[in-house]
Symmetry: D2
Subunit: 509 residues, 4 copies
């Protein structure tokens, strides 16, 4: 993640109902500005008005004229509204290190802003606007990433509220400074929080959802990269292309499988592999034959996670829930992220299949019985050892992925007088997913190093249209391994090539 983001004009208009993972990525990572749609603003105002009316009638409303959590039985008098809401923000700030990057902070602010826009929180529209001001002026509160049991990232996103009222620290134009000072310089007054504002700020899964959206966007790039590297490996081993044929995949038409197979075939267009298909191996090792099914399973899992998360990003997650139409505010549990968090857990397992498959392909690329080439792809069997220990690097990272896929969403306690007896560890599950993705970039990078080395040793292949570009993206940065050198340097470079999207961009250009 970048440590500084330039805010760009051409704002994304937010209406609380149409935000995509891709748009969120744009705002967070590329610094796009945002604007609240007129309809959404009207909903916010109508909702706020209703809250005040109901408060006048002395109907007990959680977090408005009553305390929150276990303190739901405590009456909050009108004169105490501001102090109560300020105290709520202060006392709920209990997150711990590490802290979000600038892009991550933006993702989280946007994720919260959009779920306010259906107008079911009753928040002061000025508070909602503050998220947009922060995003557009590049004011990024210091946001701890840990401490939330998610359902609802109360302990962490309260730190956004801190900055809004002029407490705590923020990043602004690449510098860390006191929030109060940043607000002053930016010409923003510290917010005075009104009824229910504290609760509306903290009672959201924005940390998990914002970080989760970034993870899914990165995962999509990873899968698309993996398709390309697999295609290159298939050339490196002179593999049989018949398992890629469209007819095969139409016989079992999973959406992900079809997508992967289409991509791999397109990448290999023009490759000499198609010429001599008949003379090739009757049945390649599964890791070379089964990749579109495995990548397909990951695309399917990604599709599920993304669908569930985008529904969340465009729904209300507030409790209580303002039913504007019925002019009521009712208690609920719409802050529960379990259904989309389960999608993330499933995605992790899918990625582990992809990881093991990439590891097995890489190991085979170093094995003469499968390649007809030298052991460990050394360029000189007498004088050089080649890629002998990179097998350990990838499989040790794969073991970490195996560990990361263990589930975590159900490991919660009953808290707060046993009232809060459900949670989902949403931030941790999202964080795990991102850790898995990061390790996979290394594994795919090392697979790519092996594939280009094998192709160089082979010498006589005509690469596919896109695999040729993939080959160049690697070889532009890492030369042929002619004699032994410090492999860790090559690995680090290749990792950056794939993770920063250069391989994907090169191929799809």
């Amino acid at each position: 993640m970048h440590d500084r983001v330039e805010v760009l004009s051409d704002p994304l208009v937010l209406d609380g109902g149409t935000l995509t993972v891709e748009q969120l990525h744009e705002v967070a990572v590329n610094g796009r500005a945002v604007r609240i749609s007129e309809t959404a603003r009207q909903r916010l105002e109508a909702s706020r008005k209703l809250v005040f009316e109901l408060a006048e009638q002395d109907i007990p409303i959680y977090g408005l004229n009553r305390g929150v959590g276990w303190n739901k039985d405590k009456v909050i008098g009108k004169t105490f509204f501001e102090r109560f809401n300020r105290n709520l923000i202060l006392s709920h700030s209990a997150g711990v290190a590490p802290y979000a990057s600038v892009a991550e902070t933006r993702a989280v602010m946007l994720a919260r802003l959009n779920t306010l826009l259906p107008g079911r929180s009753g928040i002061d529209p000025a508070v909602a606007e503050r998220y947009a001001e922060f995003l557009n002026q590049g004011i990024h509160p210091k946001l701890p990433l840990r401490g939330s049991v998610g359902a609802a990232d109360i302990t962490t996103i309260s730190h956004l509220g801190l900055a809004m009222i002029g407490e705590g620290e923020v990043e602004w134009s690449g510098k860390r400074l006191a929030a109060g000072e940043a607000l002053r310089q930016a010409g923003l007054a510290p917010l005075a929080l009104g009824p229910k504002d504290g609760l509306a700020i903290v009672s959201s899964n924005a940390l998990s959802a914002g970080m989760g959206a970034l993870a899914l966007q990165e995962c999509e790039a990873l899968l698309e990269t993996a398709d390309l590297v697999y295609a290159l490996s298939l050339e490196a081993i002179r593999g049989n292309v018949s398992p890629l044929e469209e007819g095969v995949h139409l016989a079992r038409p999973y959406p992900g499988q079809l997508r992967s197979a289409n991509r791999v075939r397109a990448a290999l267009l023009g490759s000499s592999l198609w010429e001599n298909a008949d003379t090739e191996s009757l049945q390649d090792p599964l890791s070379f034959r089964d990749a579109c099914q495995i990548h397909g399973a990951a695309y399917d899992a990604l599709g599920y996670a993304k669908g569930q998360l985008e529904l969340h990003l465009n729904s209300s997650e507030d409790n209580p829930c303002v039913l504007l139409e019925e002019r009521r505010i009712v208690s609920c549990a719409n802050f529960d992220p379990v259904t989309w968090i389960l999608g993330f857990e499933m995605l992790g397992s899918a990625l582990h299949h992809l990881s093991k498959s990439a590891c097995y392909r890489t190991i085979k690329l170093g094995t003469p019985a499968f390649t007809g080439l030298s052991r460990f792809l050394t360029a000189d069997e007498e004088r050089s050892i080649g890629y002998c220990t990179a097998q350990k690097t990838i499989t040790s990272l794969d073991a970490e992925i195996r560990h990361l896929i263990n589930p975590a969403s159900t490991d919660y306690y009953a808290l707060a007088g046993d009232i809060e007896d459900h949670a989902a560890n949403a931030p941790f599950v999202v964080m795990k997913t991102r850790e898995i993705i990061d390790r996979l970039w290394y594994i795919i990078a090392i697979e790519a190093l092996h594939a280009v080395q094998a192709i160089d040793l082979r010498g006589d292949l005509k690469l596919g249209r896109r695999t040729a570009a993939v080959y160049r993206a690697i070889r532009d940065e890492i030369p042929f391994l002619g004699a032994d050198r410090d492999i860790s340097v090559d690995i680090d470079r290749a990792y950056h090539v794939v993770k920063e999207g250069r391989l994907l961009e090169g191929a799809e250009a």
Copy 2:
């Protein structure tokens, strides 16, 4: 699972493209007969013909004129076809105990039969017909449940092939007998296997898919039962019904959440809970407020698993794959079950949320601070202890569920000369899912015991239309706990009431 199934007439027509989980359950558990559709039969014949034509041309075809697995390099001569295929069945029979019940065996046979019908295996139509004969005559081969690494349940479903050629044992009309003897009595000749038949018999995920379909059907009944028991518990605690309101759920319209909320509201129709909603608790404990979201997540996960599995049941899983249109047979990996197996893993985690939530509700039903009733719902605080230790029973079973949700699909080896370097442990994942479901029946049963006891102690509740039926379904078998007695007897009875569907049937009648 029943140990004996009567085969019924009114056969289900199978066409290889429209089989549902529910239909599979009917054939397996209720003993419905089957018939292969005419179109499907024609496809089988055309496909078989093509196989022979290609074999004549001496094109190497895996499992036909070449060996399977690592033996793909071995040429199989025509005179050796029968012996080779017989040997294949024998040598691949390597499953271990336990063995499938009759209903399970039927599920597995049907799951295989239907994936043959797209006509991509090239199997002898008579072999395909044999599955139907077994199903319709009630001949059920002895089928070991363990030993397959799934992708492809080779080691276990080969035992179906054993019976087809008159080897091994079968169940017939409630008796175990030698397969050869059963065939004779049934007027069936042992099959002589032709080219590719052995491979077509073993190279399928039918064990996982058949058992998986049974699991999903049972899971759906479990979720529907859980909705009802939750509704009863809400009455037992005089809970706040506002979190159930339609408006709340339309604000976050996940399909599962909507389904659960609709069901719970319908169950509570007419309940006195709706009358005094305003005077009730502002925010019930989450386990009482969040159930539709949690059950909804489980319905969503079930929906994904079922969608992916039904696509499998109606696709080709054969390798090589007969491309009839192109008159070719090509190598592939359509036997890979990963994408639907991941759905099962996700479903397991979803069920654990449901389990913990039921446990927390049950614990609270024994806690005066939440109920206003006696400790452990004893009928006599001086003379009786009540449901004190059932809290341990449910949470110990919940701990087993916590263990069962740990993932297993990626723990495989590279086998057979390192060629088979991907698998999914599909049978084990399915078995885990069934184990989770079984433990949940206990937990839900014990929640129901608590709820009816609390309702009896409370005395003055008007139950909902369906919750009243739920109440009766329990109390018909387990009397009020007026004095201490052996609780394990009550638990066992309640478990059978819910697991055998009596509670659900009673309520939905």
Copy 3:
């Protein structure tokens, strides 16, 4: 486990301080009788007397004149002692299926009896004596294995108390009958429980400890068998014996490693492997070179688990704890089994290393590149397929072991008004360990099948003194695989040979 056990004379004298896992196995499985030592009996009596004296002084004592668990605040009057204790047994009986075998029930009863003998429970000596009467007369209460969160197996071992007071069912002389009837026939009066007796019966980890002792005894046999099968495999592959040398192991003197290496060298005494050590492979695959280190790690883990469990079996686990010397009864938590349960969890992981290693050896025994023999050890490469799919059988069972080693001891809830906020799932952890061991018997059996087949194919080996006996133990029951046959039959036979100890007995004779 046997379903019927003959009780033998020559009773084991129990003093509460010297019971070993081996002795427990003798009483449980071989049916040895027991006798309470005179010193122990005196302690029981002195302790009981103290309890009555303290009760007279109206000092509140948990479980005596006060309730148990959350009911610790309830006063139990003297006239209510018997009914309270009877109710306690009834209401705490909340276990669920499956049920213990006869040998298991004996193990559990003995495990409880011995921890009473330090005289810290204050139990009526007649109740303690009842365990001995049941063991010696072969009266075996129906004992459910699940439902306890362990710490303290309250919900399950209460079923032993049921039988003592004439409730529930028992096994006697191979028949199931009502406990009351069995007592009558055996000439025993139903017990009338006095103060604290109910608590003393249920407040113990006897289920976990008794089952755990059986597991450790079986595990020891497993490890010793694994040493022998490994030795045979080393011959089968004509492996290098230099890694077995004593000097190597003295250079890293872990007790387990030394034990395994000594055993393997002894097994290979006289083998032709020692003759041509120099000409053999410089470095065998690790699975063939590293076995003594891996088995050693398992012996070390077993040593830890056994040491911790035996300390438990010979300590007091009662709460409150009678401090006879100080003439007081104090509250405590000596029923916490965590320290020895952690040993079982560690042992599970150790066994998985052993399992994977056995799998890798077996796979290599089917791989010509490592053996110089035929693929899958077929006797006829043209006509027979050999042990091709047994690789799947072992690795699928290994995947189950991988799943079983996931930890479970920390997955507990706060129960009973949040007072019982620690547990260890001891029965489940022990059960998992036994499941691991059972799967390993299959894996070792299949390794042995491969080894003897390779040795037969090789033909010219002179086996070691004990490995020759191992070879015979297998070949006595499973003939050479000359032509393909149903492998599952061979596997089942070999499993019984190793699990029932015939291989070990044969070799050590």
Copy 4:
């Protein structure tokens, strides 16, 4: 870990047989210098001489005149010794980020140096000396922490070898510079590696063992701190001290339990808790009653891990192994770290029990029903919310610990032509253990914050001798929570107090 370490005089004399975890910590963290004992040096020389003699006789020796790993079949000629060994170091350098701190690097270098001193590697004594030179001159190679499958941390500790031959980077006196430059400035010549030197450098578990020793030393401080914080919490809740009595623990004399109970009693010496023991709660919640048993289990597990690791640190881990006495070099597998790694896995689970127990205590400290104090320990129930959300902070970190305890040691692949078919993921397991410990510092810190707040609210307690010092250590840095403030600031401070040892030092002074 410190980023810079001053090297101190008074060198630790190393003999390869007596190194303790505590001494290793001193050298690594406190910068103590080292010296190789005279006896050890002689062993190194004798061993080196033997290696040359055997090489002269043309006996094939792994890693000397033959390649390593899969290349064991390649002959290494004498003229190629230096280049081969240099290539080995280069090609084996395949570690990835993150990188070791200075203290960690020192720990790793020492861990390797000491296992060379038994003289079983045949390494050039000058290479062994180089570790000492680096330690004593403060030259700290850049050492990646990931990439090793451990058995043997080949891919990572090769980076130490890089620096020895003048390649790669090092830290020296707080600066990063090229290794060649550092050597020049320090007056050290780049090493010319002779036969077997490359293998001797890489073939060690020094990364895991060195990091592991630091982890165990920190764990011991953690457990000792946890005893003290528990003692303070017991005062905060006015708990019953009878479960601490010596008699209770002598009735079940586990070493760890005795140690913890002794420490807690000593901490509470003079506390007013002892005065009114009789009037206190009959049975506190288990988290307050069971702590010595739980901490004891952790001490027991720590004892096992430490014993097994110290044996490793003082044994040979080299393959092949020089048997000086027999004048031979033999193949072996003494590099297998499984037995001590299993101890680390067990320790992780033990720490999770400690963590959950601390969480439950902390939650109860915020619960009036258990304390008789205000909800969330607020100083003003009307105006302030208090420690409401810190419950989420600790339980979310506890969920991470729950995830970290999942085992990892068996998740390895067969590598390098399937020869390397065992590993233990030792570095990752050690890293997990350190992550668990770090999270526990947070949890204990937050428990301490609650305890001191409760004690302040209570007002009238006379603290124990050491608990008074614990109280001061916290209150010296974090004032009474009189009004709501940003809790994350307090948490961060308290975390540093406990992690940096100030609480422990304060109390034990």
